[in-house]
């Protein structure tokens, strides 16, 4: 083995990727060549320094628990499916029923979608674009999502945009826009309307809009639809007060 080969392949040797013959040949060369020995030692110290300084992090406990329950107890679909599979309903009927069940769970405003909206809001992830300008935020999303992020022209000027980030809800792309009002943070999620019924705990009419509210983990999620998009506003106020906020936002 020549010096040039040693230089070329020092890292490969140190990564333990040499076969027995190559390794022996390189080590024989090292015994005779102090310069190559230095080169290999230099590489070795560099690799060791990088490895020692790459932090080994632990996954957050909250993520571990969430995944544990998600993967090991994946919801109530299984027992239902089991009953259907073992019932005497004809196969086609089972299929239709299963499809409609699946559609309810994954396509509409499913509990999972609402749960994820709360989760993403509560996590307080940093915004990717910071701006108080509604048009700038809409523009920022233009090349990033496959729908036009049309932010509602809220009437209350104190309800201010602070920034936005890309997000996703139940495997759907979503624009997450953060607002602030009177020291409180809100997240507005905008995503393609998943279709299906919009019947949550409480629904109200505000002008031409139907707003539905659900309380989860101390947060309230308000959902409404407009022009093929779905909107979901999350805040930590109780439902009755959230409704008052919405009233002010949509007042003519």
């Amino acid at each position: 083995m020549r010096c040039e080969d040693v230089r070329r392949f020092a890292q490969v040797y140190l990564d333990g990727e040499f076969d027995e013959n190559d390794r022996r040949s390189l080590e024989l060369h090292l015994r005779e060549c102090p310069q190559c020995r230095r080169q290999v030692e230099y590489e070795h110290r560099f690799q060791a320094a990088i490895r020692a300084r790459l932090p080994r992090v632990q996954a957050p406990e909250e993520l571990r628990q969430r995944l544990h329950s998600k993967l090991l107890h994946p919801g109530r679909v299984h027992p239902v499916r089991r009953i259907l599979l073992w019932s005497s309903v004809p196969a086609a009927g089972v299929l239709v029923l299963l499809l409609s069940l699946t559609w309810t769970v994954t396509s509409a405003f499913s509990p999972r979608l609402l749960e994820e909206a709360v989760e993403r809001h509560s996590r307080q992830a940093p915004v990717e674009v910071a701006s108080e300008n509604r048009a700038d935020v809409e523009e920022w999303f233009r090349s990033k999502v496959d729908f036009h992020v049309a932010l509602p022209p809220f009437a209350d000027r104190e309800f201010r945009v602070v920034g936005a980030r890309l997000s996703h809800l139940a495997e759907r792309q979503a624009a997450q826009v953060r607002y602030r009002q009177a020291g409180r943070e809100y997240s507005l999620f905008v995503f393609n309307d998943p279709g299906g019924p919009l019947d949550l705990q409480r629904c109200h009419r505000l002008g031409h809009r139907k707003l539905c509210l659900v309380e989860k983990r101390g947060y309230t999620v308000v959902v409404w639809r407009s022009r093929g998009l779905a909107y979901s506003l999350v805040g930590d106020l109780p439902a009755s007060q959230m409704l008052e906020v919405l009233n002010a936002l949509f007042s003519p």
């Binding site: 990727e17 300084r53 080994r56 996954a59 995944l67 495997e171």
Partner: protein, 214 residues
């Protein structure tokens, strides 16, 4: 029968969760964002669960999970920030063309040569964040997770030779960036490094060209 299938699924989920820390640690370095890393890991495991039938028992579950995660990362962040873009350059580069900064090819070692032993963990993380995604991923798979070249080739679906070349170039870039950090943070002084030697050589040549004595 259902119970048996459920038990099998739970066992699979538990086996996957064994690798949660490694997946999260890598996702965090890939995305450089905690929330995105959590999302990436969650989506990886949910997807793996959904396609668990495609996993061949007896093969490497860890490598299979990393493969799913890296693919998801590449798809999700393809159009995002520049630092995450998959940047294509010539794969076949002369591996000797880019000598290590600070390295002095002499029998007289200087402590400044080993500037990388003076930098901090944060410097290494920052330097890795700046690497192009294709380089970053090979460094993370090799140096953070200890995958072999063949496993990395399998995860990234590229030839082993390409892994070798990307890893080499990634480490070279890492070394250059760390060298700059070490200089800017004052861990080393310019006057005592290999780079200074190069500068002096340039000066020497320009002086020669000007007809003056070095």
């Amino acid at each position: 029968m259902w119970k048996r299938k459920e038990n099998k699924s739970n066992a699979f989920a538990e086996a996957m969760l064994e690798y949660l820390d490694q997946l999260f640690g890598t996702a965090l370095r890939l995305t450089a964002n905690r929330a995105e890393a959590e999302d990436l890991v969650q989506d990886t495991l949910v997807r793996a669960m959904r396609f668990q039938e495609r996993f061949e028992p007896g093969t490497n579950l860890r490598a299979w999970l990393f493969r799913i995660m890296v693919n998801l990362f590449a798809t999700r962040f393809r159009h995002e920030r520049r630092g995450r873009e998959i940047q294509c350059g010539p794969e076949k580069e002369d591996l000797l063309s880019n000598l290590a900064p600070g390295y002095r090819d002499s029998a007289d070692p200087q402590p400044e040569e080993f500037f990388f032993e003076k930098v901090l963990s944060d410097d290494v993380v920052a330097a890795i964040n700046e690497l192009p995604a294709e380089f970053k991923v090979v460094v993370l798979l090799r140096d953070l997770n200890g995958f072999s070249y063949a496993q990395i080739a399998d995860i990234l679906e590229i030839p082993v030779g390409t892994v070798m070349s990307r890893l080499f170039r990634a480490r070279q870039q890492l070394r250059s960036r760390l060298f700059q950090y070490a200089l800017s943070q004052g861990y080393i002084r310019t006057g005592e490094t290999g780079t200074e030697k190069v500068t002096r050589l340039d000066e020497y040549r320009s002086r020669q060209a000007g007809g003056r004595e070095p």
